[in-house]
């Protein structure tokens, strides 16, 4: 009992206990302050920005109270700061990539090319943005895979935000046989578009003649729709065009090659061998 009493009344022990108390109080104060500020800013900022502010504030306040606690137990802060300076230089050299990712993350935060919930395409990877973190971005692909993309590569490369604008254009490539009347094909396509309620009346669908292909006349038929309906339009319009072409007897040709023997009108000579086999 006396040992315990002596332990708690020893001057150094009191200093250490004060230091621990300062840190604990600091943790509580940090939580209260960050909680209040997050509540105030919740409506003005998105989740990513709030997360950054919350973490920055929390650890900043903790660091202040930690320094105060160290000062309380008599540690020379000059030595600590000096050591921290040397350490940060060493860490800086070692973590150039991480620092680059961190800075890139801040640039992304300011530029806001996309937000959580948007669908983006980076290189050949497309998916929904789950979170935009300090060092990396997290995506969920359409086949439910989890992809981590470093922020540095997002700043350096092309990022396509598929859901930035409310409407999107679907470019359908259609090929018809050379014998078809393009005016009739055009009318059929526009009627299919008109009958599909997902296809926007404005901007008007576009009929673009692409060129005289090897086996067919190539056409691009572009239609606009709400971004949420893009996939459904893609499927329904393709089925609609196929059905309409069948009804109008418009041929969608297979790739084919025509052989000539030297004159367009002479038949190609064919002889049958080994009839018995």
């Amino acid at each position: 009992m006396e040992t315990i009493y002596q332990f708690f009344t020893y001057p150094k022990t009191i200093e250490y206990l004060k230091a621990v108390l300062i840190v604990l109080v600091g943790i509580i104060i940090a939580r209260l302050i960050t909680g209040s500020i997050v509540k105030l800013l919740k409506k003005r900022l998105d989740s990513h920005e709030i997360q950054l502010i919350r973490r920055g504030l929390f650890y900043g306040i903790i660091a202040l109270f930690l320094l105060s606690a160290l000062n309380q137990i008599g540690i020379n802060l000059g030595v600590v700061l000096g050591a921290a300076g040397i350490l940060s230089v060493a860490i800086g050299f070692a973590s150039q990539t991480s620092a680059s990712n961190l800075i890139s993350g801040l640039f992304l935060l300011v530029e806001r090319p996309f937000s959580v919930g948007d669908v983006i395409k980076v290189g050949s990877t497309a998916g929904e943005v789950l979170s935009i973190d300090l060092l990396s971005l997290k995506l969920r692909t359409f086949d439910n895979l989890y992809v981590r993309i470093p922020n540095e590569s997002l700043i350096k490369s092309e990022v396509i935000t598929l859901t930035k604008f409310p409407i999107r254009r679907f470019d359908m490539q259609v090929s018809v046989a050379y014998k078809e009347d393009l005016n009739i094909v055009r009318d059929v396509l526009f009627e299919v578009a008109h009958d599909n309620p997902l296809c926007l009346e404005e901007p008007k669908p576009l009929f673009i003649f692409q060129g005289f292909g090897a086996s067919s006349l190539d056409i691009q038929f572009s239609l606009w729709t709400k971004k949420e309906n893009f996939l459904e339009l893609r499927n329904t319009i393709s089925l609609g065009v196929k059905d309409a072409f069948d009804d109008a007897h418009i041929e969608i040709p297979f790739p084919h090659t025509t052989l000539y023997t030297g004159s367009a009108t002479d038949p190609f000579p064919v002889s049958i061998v080994n009839q018995d086999k």
């Binding site: 604008f165 409310p166 409407i167 008109h194 599909n196 309620p197 997902l198 296809c199 926007l200 009346e201 404005e202 901007p203 606009w224 729709t225 709400k226 309906n229």
Partner: protein
């Protein structure tokens, strides 16, 4: 003869109710603790065509069963109310109209109605069903800013007496005034039908509140006022449908260039 489809109808367990509204064939069937909604659209239906309908036996089948609502008390009445579209409607005159400088004109445009089904004294909202599912369209200065609306066409009648009576559409008188120094080309009108009330006149014709539009001198903005109450062309009109959204301010300034594009 067109059937009056709106109103309140007793609908108890074991009973059914069928209505034909334009191309929409609609039926309600009440069983023990549930109300079933069946509907389908007539294929190849055309405006101003003779009334066609699906028989009850063909309508009430599993293919047309769209919703089932579980209701504890199925000894009540069903209300069918007319309501306007759930998005603004962009209506295009069949032929573009020019309004010379300082000219005033009133045109009448109609937009398709929705049917709102409510059950019981508590007015349990069952469903809003479009009588005609209009095509989507975009209205805005470019493909980045604007809003998704419904598309409609109008003959832009200039006299109320020339309007056809259709039980599935509501007519909006639009008072236009060209305050600019040049001709105004009226190619499309964005009607904020979500803010409009529906009235029924003594001839069983549906109307909405009248709308007044004044484009300013630079043709960049157009002030639109929703005039309170039933329009003057609707004689002895009664309010039958409420707006989906209440208007906070009386006038809505559209800062979309080419509002009247």
């Amino acid at each position: 003869m067109h059937e009056v489809w709106w109103g309140t109808f007793p609908l108890r367990r074991g009973q059914h109710l069928k209505k034909q509204i334009g191309p929409l064939s609609l039926a309600f069937k009440v069983e023990l603790n549930e109300c079933q909604i069946y509907y389908n659209y007539l294929a190849d239906w055309k405006e101003d065509s003779e009334e066609a309908s699906i028989s009850l036996e063909h309508l009430i089948c599993s293919d047309n069963l769209k919703e089932r609502f579980i209701i504890s008390n199925t000894d009540e009445k069903l209300s069918l109310l007319p309501i306007l579209a759930d998005r603004p409607v962009v209506t295009k005159p069949v032929t573009p109209i020019y309004i010379p400088s300082k000219q005033k004109i009133t045109i009448f445009v109609s937009t398709p109605l929705w049917v709102r089904a409510e059950y019981g004294p508590d007015k349990i909202l069952l469903k809003d069903i479009a009588v005609i599912r209009p095509s989507d369209t975009w209205f805005g200065p470019n493909t980045m800013e604007g809003e998704v609306c419904y598309a409609s066409q109008t003959k832009a009648r200039l006299e109320a007496s020339n309007l056809s009576r259709r039980y599935h559409r509501a007519t909006t008188p639009i008072h236009l005034f060209n305050d600019s120094a040049s001709h105004l080309l009226l190619e499309r009108i964005n009607l904020p039908v979500t803010h409009l009330e529906v009235y029924l006149d003594e001839n069983n014709r549906f109307w909405t509140q009248a709308v007044k539009m004044i484009n300013d001198k630079d043709n960049e903005t157009a002030e639109m006022l929703i005039l309170p109450g039933s329009p003057s062309e609707a004689s002895k009109a009664t309010l039958v449908g409420v707006p989906r959204e209440m208007v906070v301010e009386k006038s809505i300034i559209r800062k979309i260039s080419g509002f009247f594009e």
